[in-house]
């Protein structure tokens, strides 16, 4: 069994941290891109215009029925084909994340807006508001408040999902650890270490989300 040797982490710390940075970069891209695209698609899912509604619904159902790992592979092959030249694994992974996570953000947004009761809309209409004014002053502010916990949870999911970029060689946190492991054969220390780092980050985010949810309950 051998003794624990934490030196391996100390020695390779810069390399591991570089991997962590890549993880954060990928996560930020995935979250912002996914959220923006998700807002568009989510609103499209609420449209009564069939030309807007059906493609958006297809998009969401398609990506939500597939494993992210497969989608990463798919874009890994597809992106250079469409671009006409190799674009690098980080770029392909980013595209995959933005599109994949957007389908999840879209559902959160759609559900958030639909959770506002029809009567709230009717109350706004009854004072002479247009559809646009109703959405802008009444529905969307309330929906956003309701959505924040779910959006935060999904952001944590995106952060965890970045580890899947491992399979196409992106040197994010997990892959960095496995590279060191291949060389130093200290699997226990390495995977325990990255496990702890991921845990600290995700746990604090989820606690923050719970605190926000509780605060929202009082302010309402």
């Amino acid at each position: 069994m051998g003794t624990f040797d934490w030196k391996v982490i100390y020695d390779n710390f810069p390399f591991l941290m570089k991997g962590l940075l890549t993880t954060f970069e990928l996560a930020v891209i995935g979250i912002t891109g996914g959220l923006l695209l998700g807002i568009l698609v989510g609103m499209a899912r609420l449209s009564s215009n069939k030309i807007i509604y059906y493609p958006a619904t297809l998009f969401v159902n398609f990506f939500r029925s597939l494993p992210l790992l497969l989608v990463i592979f798919w874009f890994y092959f597809l992106v250079p084909l469409l671009a006409g030249r190799p674009m690098g694994d980080f770029f392909s992974a980013s595209v995959a994340f933005v599109i994949f996570e957007a389908s999840y953000f879209a559902e959160i947004i759609r559900a958030g807006i639909q959770s506002i009761s029809k009567e709230q809309m009717q109350a706004a209409y009854s004072t002479g508001f247009t559809y646009g004014q109703t959405m802008r002053y009444i529905i969307i502010p309330q929906a956003l408040r309701n959505m924040v916990p779910s959006l935060l949870t999904q952001a944590v999911v995106v952060f965890q999902d970045t580890s899947l970029a491992y399979v196409i060689g992106v040197k994010e946190f997990l892959r960095s650890a496995s590279i060191v492991d291949a060389r130093e054969m200290r699997s226990l220390e390495l995977y325990a270490f990255i496990g702890v780092v991921y845990f600290i980050f995700c746990y604090s985010m989820s606690k923050l989300s719970k605190r926000l949810e509780a605060k929202k309950g009082i302010a309402k």
Partner: protein, 239 residues
């Protein structure tokens, strides 16, 4: 656009076709085994989360947070690479040499534990949405705590949580794809294997996509039937 010559026949040509079928079978087995273990464990842990006894609750909360806040892939790597190191050397050798498909069973451990923590969350949420008075009513007829949970609370909660559990079942099947990273020969692994041999990545990956979409449809259909069978008039299971 790079010129690309689509060759869809690789999906069913010999031997690629049989590789795919093998992979699909492994995916189905892995998914079903992990799902049922997770269902059992998750119901147990989820119930512990809402019992009146603090140590049980703390344990269950810790369990859930641990598995939820670490990426699944990292967990699988831990079970596959790191955990065997803790075992005494002879056990480790036994694991690798004597047990066939040890990587399959290691993934079963990792994926089941992960999924069980998610199932536990759903069960907990379902139980907490059952009015307190149901519990009080049962106790007032002389049931013990255990009987209350077994005959009243758990059956009620199961019906409430069928929609989120359907999502979770789909997630399990999708998560089986991660097993490819530790050399389990399931669908995704096979699709990339085909790609390695034929260089037709898009066709191979698309084929695997179709497999998962079919699995999704089948699961949704089956869970829909289960929901109908278990449905109780007046109890709203779907928002």
């Amino acid at each position: 656009m790079l010129s690309y010559d689509f060759k869809w026949s690789i999906l069913w040509a010999d031997p690629y076709g049989s590789w795919m079928l093998q992979g699909i079978w492994v995916t189905i087995q892995l998914g079903l085994i992990c799902w049922f273990i997770a269902l059992f464990l998750g119901t147990l842990i989820g119930t512990l989360r809402v019992t009146p006894w603090k140590p049980f609750r703390l344990f269950a909360t810790g369990y859930t947070e641990l598995f939820r806040d670490i990426p699944l892939l990292v967990q699988l790597f831990f079970w596959y690479f790191a955990a065997p190191r803790i075992l005494p050397h002879s056990w480790e050798m036994y694991l690798y040499r004597e047990i066939p498909n040890s990587e399959f069973w290691i993934v079963v451990i990792g994926l089941s534990l992960y999924t069980s923590s998610r199932v536990a969350e759903h069960i907990r949420a379902g139980m907490q949405s059952i009015p307190d008075d149901q519990y009080n009513a049962a106790l007032s007829t002389g049931f013990t705590q255990f009987q209350t949970y077994r005959y009243v609370i758990i059956p009620y909660a199961i019906r409430l949580v069928i929609p989120p559990l359907t999502t979770e079942c789909l997630t399990v099947f999708k998560n089986t794809s991660l097993a490819m990273t530790v050399a389990v020969l399931e669908t995704t692994f096979m699709s990339q294997q085909i790609e390695a041999y034929t260089f037709h990545g898009i066709e191979a990956t698309t084929g695997a996509c179709v497999v998962y979409m079919i699995i999704t449809l089948v699961v949704v259909m089956i869970m829909g039937l289960v929901e109908k069978r278990l449905a109780v008039p007046g109890l709203i299971t779907r928002r």
